[in-house]
Symmetry: C2
Subunit: 315 residues, 2 copies
């Protein structure tokens, strides 16, 4: 099977089609109609075997996760997803792997009516780069900058689950079957918070997705906003799975472990009530974990311990 047959069989035929795609895969480039009065949002992420996933990773989950990681960036900007491209480098044409990988990829893509509009397949060490494109009205974009002193700090969902999932995989960490299934699902098939991002367009003063750990990513947010933050450690949202392990370890995971792909956002106190009512209506879970302060840096309240690590460094 040559490159062109492969693209056709595993990717071109499986993607959904959108009316704003004048030409998708099949020419030197894709031709795309952009909506008037909205900004184009672009984000790109690479996953590398041996760095971001292990060589025995399930291909279906990997296809799903690589897109989810990118969609999480769109969510954090308040954007609605539209198109994506895939640059897939792999050691050989492994058809069962491609079958599973593309199934996982399109499982998520089709949920959000996203069309694959281009890509490149090359030979080499397994490396997957996805670029996503979405749209957001210019006046409603969410950024890292924008948090004001006095704003409340929220996070969606639960923190630290993916970090615990990684411990299960790499340290053979012992957990109940139910907890284990839950944290591995959170690690391998994270849910990008697109609906939340769109809802927050009206309310949030700033937002970032939590890919490298709460402290690292909140650190970027406050540094972009030129403010400080106080986190009330007992308020960190811990899932039932994290509540079964030592509290100290659970808190450390919630603060520092990456790969959760929840959204950390800020809201001014006078917008808070309305936002909470809208979140409740949409059945989106979120928790207030602290507030924005004058100054710089993150202060942890009601808890002290030595940090073993601060986010994920790529090098």
């Amino acid at each position: 099977m040559d490159e062109f047959d492969m693209i056709d069989y595993y990717f071109k035929k499986k993607t959904s089609t959108r009316t704003d795609v004048i030409m998708g895969i099949g020419d030197d480039g894709a031709l795309l109609l952009t909506p008037k009065d909205q900004l184009l949002v672009v984000s790109v992420d690479t996953l590398v075997e041996g760095v971001h996933f292990i060589s025995t990773a399930n291909a279906y989950e990997l296809g799903y996760k690589t897109l989810a990681v990118n969609l999480s960036d769109l969510a954090a900007m308040g954007a609605e997803p539209a198109w994506f491209t895939l640059a897939l480098t792999m050691p050989s044409v492994n058809q069962p792997w491609l079958e599973d990988f593309s199934a996982g990829l399109f499982e998520l893509a089709n949920q959000f009516n996203m069309q694959l509009v281009g890509g490149d397949t090359t030979r080499g060490a397994l490396t997957i780069t996805i670029q996503v494109h979405g749209f957001v009205p210019r006046q409603q974009v969410l950024r890292r900058a924008g948090a004001q002193v006095g704003d409340k700090i929220y996070v969606s969902g639960f923190l630290g689950d993916a970090g615990l999932g990684l411990k299960v995989l790499t340290d053979n960490y012992s957990l109940s079957a139910e907890s284990k299934q839950y944290v591995l699902q959170r690690l391998n098939m994270p849910t990008p918070k697109i609906a939340l991002g769109i809802l927050l367009r009206e309310f949030a003063s700033s937002a970032i997705d939590i890919s490298d750990g709460l402290l690292a990513d909140l650190g970027h947010l406050i540094s972009s906003s030129q403010v400080g933050a106080e986190i009330k450690v007992p308020q960190l949202p811990l899932s039932f799975a994290l509540q079964t392990i030592s509290h100290r370890e659970a808190v450390e995971l919630a603060l520092t472990a990456g790969d959760d792909y929840e959204i950390c956002f800020t809201v001014s106190p006078h917008q808070e009530e309305k936002m909470l009512s809208r979140l409740k209506q949409a059945q989106i879970h979120s928790t207030c974990i602290g507030k924005i302060t004058a100054g710089a840096g993150i202060k942890l309240l009601d808890y002290t311990f030595e940090m073993h690590r601060l986010g994920f460094q790529h090098f």
Copy 2:
């Protein structure tokens, strides 16, 4: 130097800035203003060490070429370049390499007023993925489909130079110093034909860039257009360097070697004269090499030999 310092130092600070970039590097995604009444054109290409370039490849040339390869796709669509992203996977942070790579990359990017708006740096085998974004008026886009029976087939520049450059590198092929310098320049720092693509918006009935060799790429063009082609082999444009090697070998390189990044395009006979006058005015070199025919496949006129290879297969 951590990931964020590196991005800042080697990439963010060196890129030119465009007024249509509301937010470039530094948030979860880039925020971009798209022009009304034009289509967005997107193309992505990956270069892998050991497959697309050798491990001793000059980093400056590599940065230049990776972008050039992508710009060539925009040229073939008639698009004007705007933005690009870079997904860079590398075994370690090699600062002299990054210095040279980014210098070559921005040498070309700044020529076309392109802004780097996002990226990802990861650890792994050296793999470079660039995605380019450009614009073209909807009624003037160049596609592979559109060639009509009777249209003339043209190519820009000269063919086979990069293929000869590769022979010099890999087979220690003997050439004069002048020829050697010329073909290596053509291989390592190809010139994307952006001005030609924009000029052809008014004239060409179809176009494709020659990345995999004339026969392979013209093959895609006629297959998309559902026509056939006749190539007059003696009319293939051969550079002074190709004229110094055996004619048979020169013709084979011109027909089958990849990496030239010239444009192959078709024009109806009644538009031909006006187009040639405009090309002359713009001092762009092009050659008529045949015509579009009814049927399918490519017929080579005035030459017969066995083909050793047909384009470049990635697997």
